[in-house]
Amino acid sequence: MPVERQPPSSEDLLLEIRDLHVHFPLDEGTVKAVAGVDFDVYRNRTLCVVGESGCGKSVSAQSILQLVDRPGHIVQGQIRFHRHDADGSVTVTDLASLRSSGRAMRAIRGRHIGMVFQEPNTSLSPIHTVGNQISEVIRLHLGVDEDTARRQGIEMLERVGIARPAQNYDAYTFELSGGMRQRVMIAMALVCSPALLIADEPTTALDVTTQAQIMSLLQELQADFGMGVMLITHDLGVVAEMADDVVVMYLGQVAEYGDVDRIFHAPAHPYTKALLRSIPNLDFDQDIRLDSIRGMVPDPFHRPAGCPFGPRCDEVIEGRCEAENPPAFSLGEGGSVRCLHYEEVALS
């Protein structure tokens, strides 16, 4: 039974990324970590970004918040953030043009766009209490006094399912379990009710039972706050459970974009198809041997000429795929695919 999903509405547009390029000029050469990426995030919807390590998921997310590590920088493209105000007006800002430490970016980061990363340890300070860290965010953005910040902070901890919230508000993060730390991160990211939540592999380091807790929590919070979620993961099971829309990345590009049902049930890109075939399934009617994608992801200094997936692709068109890097062809209903097989589909 297909789960009912509505198509996105343009009034709910939150983030439009267009032709984003992010490079790391290193001694060995330039890493084109993000090489022309387009996607949209909507209010009340979850976009999952999926792909194997190194394909540019994290760097894409970091670009939105201007948090790319040096020497990496955005070399081209737009990141248009649509701010919806209470009176119904919408203000559009190109985040790609803002300075990382500038006032405008700091007013958005943590306030209108919240973020959660894979490793809570690197984002949480070991020498401050949970409460210090949450109240700092609240006071910075909402300008409230200490007591109000404390009250709101404890409320938020309770909301994300932290037991004994008042007591844990005064705890140090090293006193908490991995799952609890990840909840604290989520509480910090959501305490200012951001319009957009970016979560980069928030459950990858956790056990499935804790992952189930966190995913249920994210779904509840989205239903309550109506936020848009950009969820980065390499786990296709998580994608199937959480996504409305899916971006499949390969070597810094969006190989395929579309709604979750189509991606899983009518994948277009040979890479998407191969990824789906290579996941072990819990089903017992499946063959006992797994399919795998031959070869491996090329290193970033040796990007193949032509289609980036060419050297591993089973559907190569001789004479063309080695020469042309396919643009994104429309598949209708907002979906798109970067593969030469869909050139005609797009034209017709």
Partner: protein, 339 residues
């Protein structure tokens, strides 16, 4: 799937308690009950999965079997191809020497487990030098053969680990584990750090090698979809205890322990048309230095009755080959993956 021909290792009442570091709970001297009275058999030729959340004692069980540590209590009866069975738990370093060649390990982290200063020839060849006295071209030939078996080019033996990708490093780790023709391989989260496509290549390789070399695997993983795919039988651990042991199909389709049921329900299903019925467990896994009374799972179990907080349920056989440690195993209907 390989045929089974007898028991390779019988683990009996195995316990491993670590003394707790003083300091945190000043004065209180406790112990971490990492593995607590665990018994199971590993059949020759099978892949036995060991699954459970982090901290439940999987790695410690593996380390006891490999005798990296000396267990606090219990027996580890190893049944060699020829001759008398030996209790590895009682042997000293000298006595363990011959058996160490037959029981080998593949580690989780392909980055941390290879010495970055040694070329592949040394990494894979070291145990061949030490145990087989191989040198020079004989050594190189054997290392080349091993690299070929794991799908790496023999020329790569001169390279250092940093020149390889994660999947390739894991293959080097596998070649090293297989160098001495072991019988039992303990693979601890061997594919957990790998991406999907490399993971499936590695799992296929492990299965091919099992068939070619008649290997037996103890396959430790927290990932149930991987377990389901490679294992003939599965043992589930919770806070140092074995709570369920069954053939893979029965365990996934008709689990009998409430913890197994919850674990299975938490695995995200890769199909958006399947609405998952997650059983969200409250709270965290208990601390193994202060496990709950009675059944360790009772504070999180939705079926728990008064008795569960008082009596520890023993592991007992409820159906052919299906073992479970739950007081209510005969009374409750649990849901498997087809829920």
């Amino acid at each position: 799937m390989s045929s089974t021909n007898g028991t390779l290792l019988s683990v009996r009442n195995l316990s491993m308690f670590y003394p707790m570091r003083a300091g945190f709970l000043q004065g209180h001297r406790g112990e971490v009950r990492a593995v607590d009275d665990v018994s199971f058999d590993i059949q020759a030729g099978e892949t036995l999965g060991l699954v459970g959340e982090s901290g439940c004692g999987k790695t410690t069980t593996g380390r006891c079997i490999l005798r990296v540590v000396a267990p606090t209590a219990g027996e580890l009866w190893y049944h060699p191809r020829e001759g008398e069975s030996v209790d590895l738990a009682r042997l000293d370093t000298g006595g363990l020497l011959p058996w160490r060649q037959e029981i080998r390990m593949i580690f989780q982290d392909p980055f941390a487990s290879l010495n970055p200063r040694l070329p592949v020839l040394e990494i894979v060849g070291e145990c061949l030098k030490v145990n087989r006295g191989l040198r020079g071209s004989a050594l190189e030939e054997r290392v080349a053969e091993l690299l070929g078996m794991v799908g790496l080019r023999p020329e790569y033996m001169r390279r250092y680990p940093h020149a390889f990708s994660g999947g390739e490093r894991q293959r080097i780790g596998i070649a090293r584990a297989l160098a001495l023709n072991p019988r039992l391989v303990v693979a601890d989260e061997a594919v957990s750090a790998l991406d999907v496509s490399v993971r499936s290549q590695t799992l296929n390789l492990l299965q091919d090698l099992q068939n070619e070399m008649q290997l037996t695997y103890l396959f430790i993983s927290h990932d149930l979809s991987v377990i389901r795919y490679v294992c003939n039988r599965v043992a589930v651990m919770y806070v140092g205890k074995l709570v369920e042991l069954a053939d893979t199909r029965s365990l996934f389709l008709t689990p009998q322990h409430p913890y197994t049921e919850a674990l299975l329900s938490s695995v995200p299903k890769p199909d958006p048309r399947v609405r998952s019925q997650r059983i969200v467990l409250e709270g965290d896994v208990p601390d193994p230095s202060q496990p709950p009374s009675g059944c360790h799972f009772h504070p999180r179990c939705r079926y728990a009755v008064d008795r569960c907080a008082e009596e520890t349920p023993p592991l007992r056989e409820t159906a052919d080959g299906h073992h479970v440690a739950c007081h209510l195993a005969d009374e409750i209907e649990l849901v498997g993956i087809h829920g």
